[in-house]
Amino acid sequence: MTNPDRDVNQELAREFGLTGAEYAKVLEILGRTPSVTELGVFSVMWSEHCSYKSSRVFLKQLPTTAPWVIHGPGENAGVVDIGNGLAAVFKIESHNHPSFIEPYQGAATGVGGIMRDVFTMGARPIANLNALRFGDPRKPVTKRIVDGVVRGIGGYGNCVGVPTVGGEVNFHRAYDGNPLVNAMTVGIARKDRIFLSAAAGVGNPVVYVGSKTGRDGIHGATMASAAFGADSQEKRPTVQVGDPFTEKLLIEACLELMATDAIVAIQDMGAAGLTSSSVEMASKGGVGIELDLDQVPQRETGMTAYEMMLSESQERMLMVLRPDRQDAARAIFEKWELDFAVIGKLTDTGRIVVRHQARVEADIPLTPLAKEAPLYHRPTTETAKQTQLNPARIEDRIGLARALERLIACPDLCSRAWIWDQYDSTIGGQTVKRPGAADAAVVKIEGQTMALALTTDCTPRYCAADPEAGGRQAVAEAWRNLSAVGARPLAVTDNMNFGNPERAEVMGQFAAAVRGMAAACEALKFPVVSGNVSLYNETEGRAILPSPVIGGLGVIEDASRAVGLALKPWLDLVLVGASRGWLGQSLWLREIAGREDGAPPPVDLTAERAAGDFVRGQILAGAVRGCHDVSDGGLLVAVAEMAMAGGVGARLSAGPRDIPGHAFWFGEDQGRYVLAVAESAPVIRAAEAAGIPAVRIGHSGGQDLTLPDGGTICVQALRAAHERFFPSWMDGAEGNTPGGL
C-alpha cells in the first residue's frame, strides 16, 4: 500500500483527492508538513462522502423538525417518536460504487453498514428496504449486476435475520456504468434509551469491538467521491467482504450491553473507519482523543498507521465506556466471541493523537479538522423546462388492452417477485404486509398493536425532465404510499444520487431537487430526519438520471386496520383525485409511443394532502377493502395490479368524455388512489363533502378484466405476462453467474 515514509507534498495530496487549496489549508492548520497518516486523515475527513462539502449548503433548506422528531440529521440515523414510549430509528444509505465493482459484496456490505447505523443508536433492526437502479437490461453486464446485488442483499439480510420488506427497482441506460444500491434499515428502541456518538468524560476508555482490522477498502471514502474513469479498475482498494454472521453477533452483543449503563457514547466504523468514528465522537463531544494503534485487533501483519486509520473493514464499532463497567462489557463481547480492545482514552487537549510502535503518527487539532472542513458553493445551471404535451395530439395506435399487456410486462412495471422471493420477508413473525401486498410494507411492532408502514420512492425520469417537480413527486409518492395502507406519515430519510457536482448542470439538478423536496416535506408535514448523498455517479462524463430516493416511514396505531392492494370480488372501484390525462414522461409514452419527452406530471401539494387525508380516514373508518395509489403506468395499470394481486377480475366503465381514452387510463396525474369499497355512493358523497374529486370507475368480480373499449383480458394470462420478465431474463444462458459462483 502507501509507503509511510513517502514524502508528503502537493502531488501526494492530489493522489489522496485533496485540491491544492485544501492542501494549503492543511498546512495552515498544522503549521507544518503533515505525515502520510495525517494527510490520509484530512483527505478522508474532507472527502465529499464525509464532509458533504458540495451538498451542505443546499441540504440546509430541508425541513427537519416536527413535534414527533427526537433526533434529526446529524446523528447516525433519524429518530421519531411513535408513541407508547417507543421510537423508530431509520436511515437510508448508498453503496453504489462498491456494487458496481463487486455487486454481491458491494450490496451486502451496504446492508451491513446501514444496519450498524441503526443499532448503534440502541435500536433493534426490524425491517430492511432497498431502492435499486440498473442499466439497460439488454446488456449482459446488467444481468450480472442485478444477480449479484440481489444475492448480496438477500445473503446479508437473511443471515442477520432482519426481514427485507420493500423497495423499488428501475432500469435505464443512464445507469449502465453506475447502478444505484440504496439500502434502508428501520429499528425500534425505547425512546428514553437512545444512544448517541458525542464522547464525554476525560480519561474514559475508548473501546474497539467487532471484527479485526485488515487492509479492506482503504480510501473507500475518497473512492466514493470520484467519478469512474477507464482506469478505475486499477484504482481499486481491497474490496470489503461482509461477514453477516459477525454482524448478527455484534447486534446481540451491543444490545445486551446497551441494556446496562456502561456506554457513554458509541459509533459504528463506517466510511473512513477508525478515522471518522474517532474524530466525530471526540469533536461532537468537544474533547480530545488518544489512540494507541498497537492495541487494535489486526487481521494482517505489518499494517501501517495510515492503513489502520483508513481501513474500512466491516462489522466494527467504537465505544466510550464508563471505566467501572469495562470488565462487565468485556465479558459480554467475549460471550459472543467478538474482539474487545481498549485502544485509547479521551483527553482534554482537543486534539486527536495517534501512536503506533512508540511513534506519534498523527497529532491534529479536532475543531478545524471536523468543523472547518471545506464548504463549496458550486455553480449551478437550471435544467431547461420541457413543454407540456397535449394528449389529444398523441394518437393511440394499439388500444387499451394491448398497451396494458405490454406495459405490465416491461422491466419497469413487471412483477418483482423474482427479487423479493430471494429476501426473507417474514422473519420476526411481524410482517403484516409483505412485498407486493400493499403500497407500503407494514411491519408490526412485537408486543404492540401498532405497526410501521415503510416505502421507498423516486421516479428518476420525472427528475431528469424537471428536477424540482421530480423532487416534489418523490416525496409525495412516498407520503401517498404510506397513506394508501392507512398509515400516518411521520418522516423521511433521503438518498441523493447524482452525477459530478463540479458540473453546473448536475449541481443545478441537485439544487432544484432539494427545492422540490423541501416544498413537499413542508406542505405534507413530513420532515427529513436522516439521509445520505452520493455524488460522482458518472462514467466518462455520462451521469445517471438525478435520483433523489425517498424512504418514508409512517405509523398505524391498529395494525389490523392496514389495507393491501389485492382486489376481492363484488366491490365498487372508486378513483380518488383529479385526472387530466397527463402523458408527459409517462411509461405509456415511453413504452408504447417510443418517446421520452414532455413535462412530468405536476404535484398539487394541497390536493395531495387533502386526498391522502381523506383516503386514510376512509381506511381507518373501515370503509375500504383494498387501496392502491396510481403511479407508474397510470390508472389502468393500477387496477390491473389490484386484479392480479387478488386473482379477481373487474369491469371498467368509460372515462370522462373530455379526455382521450389512452390519456385517461395511462396518464400519470399525481395525487390519485383507487379504492375498492362495498358501496361507492357513501364514499363519493364523503369525498365531495371534503371537496375531493371521486368517481366510480367500475366494479370487481369474475376472472377477466373488461375494458371500457370492450376489450377483455383474462387476469391469469395478465399475471403470467406480468411475472415473465425476471425469470426468463435470468434463466437465459447469456451472462449467467451460476449459483452465485
Binding site: 444475492r151 443471515c159 454472521f245 448478527k248 422471493d421 429476501y423 422473519i427 413473525g429 449459483g739
Partner: protein, 229 residues
C-alpha cells in the same frame, strides 16, 4: 409444557418460535445457550431457524458439534421430543438424529415464499390437531432445503411412515412446481423412528396470527401444548 429453545450463535428465528410456543403454552419457553449441558428438565427441545455459525461450510455442521448437542442427543436416546425447524432441521440431520441431508435448493437461489404442506399422519405429538391429508400453508425461507437421502433410506422413511410433511399444491397434490427446492419425493419434514424427533424446513411458527396472513401453523403448537399438559 416445559419447552427449551436452543440458541446457537447466528440463530435468528428464535423470537418467532418463542412467540408461537408462548401463545400455545401460555408461558415463555426456557432459552438454552449452546454451551449448556443440562436440559433434562425439559418436555421438549426446540432447535429454531437461522444461520448458526453463518451457515458457513455446511448449514448446521458447526452447531451439530457444540456441547449442547451432546445433551440433545442423550435427550433423544431417552425418548425425548425434539423439534427442529429450518436450520434446526439441518442441525438434527448433521448431528445424525435424522437421516439424509439438506442440499442447496435445486434452483440455486434462496426461496422466501409460502408453500403448502400435506400432513402425512395426524397421530403424533406434533400433528394431533391436524387431519391426515390436511393441507396447511407455511412460509419457507431457506437456501438449502433440498432434502436428499439414498433410495434405501427414502423407501424406509416411506415404508415406516416417517414422512411428516410433503410439499403439495393448495389442492393437496404432489407436483414438480409445488416442490420448489427440489426435495426427494417432495419431502418437507421427517420423523425419527419413534416419531418423537421432527425436522422440517418451512416455518409454521411464522403463521400463528391472522394478522400475519393466517393461523395454519398454530395447531402444531396447540397440539404440542395439549400433549405435554
Amino acid at each position: 409444557m416445559k419447552a427449551g429453545v436452543v440458541l446457537f450463535p447466528g440463530i435468528n428465528r428464535d423470537r418467532d418460535m418463542v412467540i408461537a410456543l408462548e401463545r400455545a403454552a401460555g408461558h415463555a419457553p426456557r432459552m438454552v445457550w449452546h454451551t449448556e449441558t443440562e436440559i433434562s428438565d425439559l418436555d421438549i427441545v426446540v432447535l429454531p431457524g437461522g444461520f448458526s455459525y453463518g451457515d458457513y461450510l455446511r448449514c448446521g455442521a458447526m452447531a451439530a458439534q457444540s456441547p449442547v448437542m451432546r445433551a440433545v442427543c442423550e435427550f433423544a436416546e431417552k425418548g425425548g421430543h425434539i423439534l427442529g425447524v429450518c436450520n434446526g432441521f439441518q442441525i438434527l440431520v448433521e448431528a445424525g438424529l435424522l437421516p439424509g441431508a439438506l442440499l442447496r435448493n435445486a434452483g440455486l437461489r434462496f426461496i422466501s415464499a409460502d408453500c403448502h404442506l400435506r400432513v402425512e399422519r395426524a397421530d403424533t405429538a406434533y400433528t394431533s390437531r391436524y387431519q391426515r391429508g390436511q393441507v396447511l400453508r407455511a412460509p419457507m425461507a431457506h437456501g438449502e432445503g433440498n432434502y436428499f437421502a439414498d433410495d434405501v433410506t427414502l423407501d424406509r422413511l416411506e415404508g415406516d411412515g416417517l414422512v411428516a410433511f410433503r410439499y403439495v399444491t393448495p389442492a393437496g397434490e404432489v407436483s414438480l412446481d409445488a416442490n420448489r427446492n427440489g426435495s426427494a419425493r417432495s419431502i418437507a419434514g421427517i420423523y425419527s423412528p419413534n416419531l418423537r424427533v421432527l425436522g422440517l424446513m418451512p416455518h409454521p411458527e411464522d403463521l400463528v396470527d391472522p394478522l400475519m396472513g393466517g393461523t395454519d401453523g398454530k395447531p402444531l403448537f396447540d397440539g404440542l401444548a395439549a400433549w405435554a399438559a
